[in-house]
């Protein structure tokens, strides 16, 4: 190497040592000043105490038997009581619904090729199979029910094989099948008059986590498209469309969901003839969906407003008509920009499904509360029940936000 090149070439040095390693991180972030040493000590103490008592309670003091006593009621509420299902042999129907979901997850796993989808699929099927071996005291939790739970493993494999070896293994087919599965599950739960093993079960008896999830899936699936339509309508230059959308959004956002749910039960029936079929589940689903759509519309509108007007101009200059500009240029970018807000709304909607207790529906929280109240010997176990419910809700909402972060990474949000 000549002397000259050493002068010209700028040397590339490794980063300084002090920022590397766990010790370095602690030095830089926790004990770099007297003030931070104080804070670290105080919060460290609080953390240790909370963990100590928390874990001690979870593993030693808590009596989790109440959860297995609640058993299938957590999943399906009063669906299988004598009044709902004479003969009490309806429990297989929600089970079969779960199997269909597992098949779908298996397909999604195969299409995505592993990663997060695989983990969700395995977690879902694994949790259901675990139910097969848990000690249950629910009446009718016989061998058949346990076998249906265990069948989730072959169902997962079946989905994987179907997606791998047939033409159904594409994202669009899975989306179509997901909608079909949802409708099929509704039919399965509701039953068909006159068909053996499928005697109708009134929606009044639907409950538990199934109720929360049905309302949430319907709400999530419908509130996004309705919200997009409302957001576009609110930006429309057509005065009538604009006025209708603004009125809708502002009235649904301006009233508490509980009030809307009450109104749906008390006021809506007045608008229909007396013998019109009353379906509180459908009414609740509609109210929750519309309520969420109003919020969704404002999220989407925020995304549309964040776009550079040059984007639409470039598309229009290329000859794309307004609707194609919206569909291919504006909406994809707008939605991508507001994924966190949209998923936040989804999570909020999922948690809000618990509010249907207000119109007498036994969602997973209400059925557990009612169980404790109706069985005084379990009053002492209320803590365990609610901690368990909190954990269940957390698993679902955390999965949702985790998936959304993955989607954001995949779409390169903040980079492109």
């Amino acid at each position: 190497m000549s002397t000259d090149s050493r002068i010209i070439t700028a040397s590339v040095l490794p980063p300084p040592r002090s920022v590397g390693g766990i010790g370095g991180w602690i030095r830089v972030n926790l004990i770099n000043t007297w003030y931070n040493i104080g804070l670290t000590t105080v919060f460290g103490f609080i953390l240790v105490v909370a963990l100590w008592y928390g874990l001690k309670w979870v593993f030693l003091d808590a009596d989790w038997r109440v959860i297995s006593t609640l058993g299938g009621r957590i999943i399906i509420g009063q669906y299988n009581v004598e009044a709902a299902c004479p003969g009490r042999d309806c429990f297989w129907r929600p089970q079969a619904g779960l199997l269909l979901v597992t098949v779908l997850l298996g397909m999604a796993w195969s299409v995505s090729g592993g990663g997060l989808t695989k983990r969700i699929a395995v977690l879902f099927a694994g949790a259901l199979v675990a139910c097969a071996v848990l000690p249950y005291s629910l009446d009718k939790m016989g061998l058949d029910v346990r076998l249906l739970f265990a069948a989730n493993v072959p169902a997962l494999a079946l989905g994987w094989v179907i997606a791998r070896h047939t033409r159904l293994g594409t994202v669009s087919w899975i989306a179509v099948l997901a909608i079909c599965t949802f409708l099929l599950i509704l039919v399965l739960l509701r039953g068909i008059p006159g068909v053996p093993y499928l005697q109708p079960v009134s929606v009044l008896y639907w409950g538990g986590l199934t109720l929360n999830l049905l309302l949430a899936v319907a709400g999530i699936g419908l509130s996004l498209p309705i919200g997009i339509a409302l957001a576009l309508g609110r930006r429309s230059s057509l005065k009538v469309v604009n006025l209708v959308c603004v009125t809708f959004i502002e009235s649904f956002r301006g009233v508490p969901l509980i009030t809307l749910l009450f109104m749906s039960q008390v006021l809506v029936p007045l608008a229909f003839p007396e013998n019109f079929p009353q379906n509180s589940l459908v009414r609740a689903a509609i109210v929750i969906t519309l309520f969420s759509s109003a919020y969704m519309a404002e999220n989407v509108r925020g995304g549309l407003q964040s776009l550079n007007p040059g984007q639409a101009e470039a598309a229009r200059a290329l000859g794309l008509p307004v609707w194609q500009t919206t569909l291919f240029i504006s909406l994809p970018q707008a939605l991508r920009n507001v994924i966190p807000a949209i998923v936040g709304q989804f999570i909020s909607l999922f948690k809000d499904t618990s509010l249907v207790y207000i119109i007498g529906m036994l969602d997973v929280v209400e059925i557990s509360r009612a169980f404790i109240q109706g069985n005084p010997e379990y009053l002492a176990s209320a803590k365990e029940v609610f901690v368990f419910l909190a954990a269940v809700f957390w698993v679902f909402t955390f999965t949702m936000s985790h998936v959304s972060r993955r989607v954001e990474q995949h779409l390169g949000v903040g980079k492109r």
Binding site: G310, Q311, L320, P332, Q333, R416
Partner: protein, 252 residues
Amino acid sequence: MTVSEETVGVEDIIVYKDVHKWFGNFHVLRGITTTIKRGEVVVVFGPSGSGKSTFIRTINRLEEHQRGDITVDGIAMTNDTRNIDTIRKDVGMVFQSFNLFPHLNVMSNITLAPTKVRKIPAKQAEMLAMELLERVGIPEQADKFPAELSGGQQQRVAIARALAMQPKIMLFDEPTSALDPEMIKEVLDVMNELASSGMTMIVVTHEMGFARGVADRMMMFDEGIIVEEGPPQQIFDAPKEERTKLFLSQIL
């Protein structure tokens, strides 16, 4: 892209008759009357706020004019959206800030309009896109996203995207103003090549080297009117108007 000999410089492709435009109370175009012939390369320049950008944006109706008549390739510019859509198919535009679609890769940026508007089959549109990317010199960037490219590369993709619609006219609105100095040349080279292929081009720019080299005509805009127009030699060497002399002395 080549135009047959008989039509070059013969047919009027853009005709402006006393065109006025207001932004609110601001009278931005104050009676533009001019004719641009097929195959002509016109450079539009002038101080900022003189209406030159607004002028070329009225050619594909990104801005609506309020008085006067505009005819583009024989089609009258009216409120009839069918006419506007027809004109836009045949008029490509390149923007100062590129305006590539950030959620689509380079290939999709180029093939979107041909497949959706011209209904060209995807395979064919992709072949055309690759040809155009080779023409602008960056075929290896087809699978990248706009944010992964340099400014000069982005602007060349934007040119390829406009050309993919096989337009009869290309509009350039300050195409090099947002670029770092070392990238201006690569974009101007593409524009030079395009001009020599016989494309009708209207270019708003202050790149006077480009104007002297390839422009057939130059238009000096000030305060919403065309102050002076003529071939580059005349504008540079013997400008008639004081305002043209003053402006050129400021930028050269």
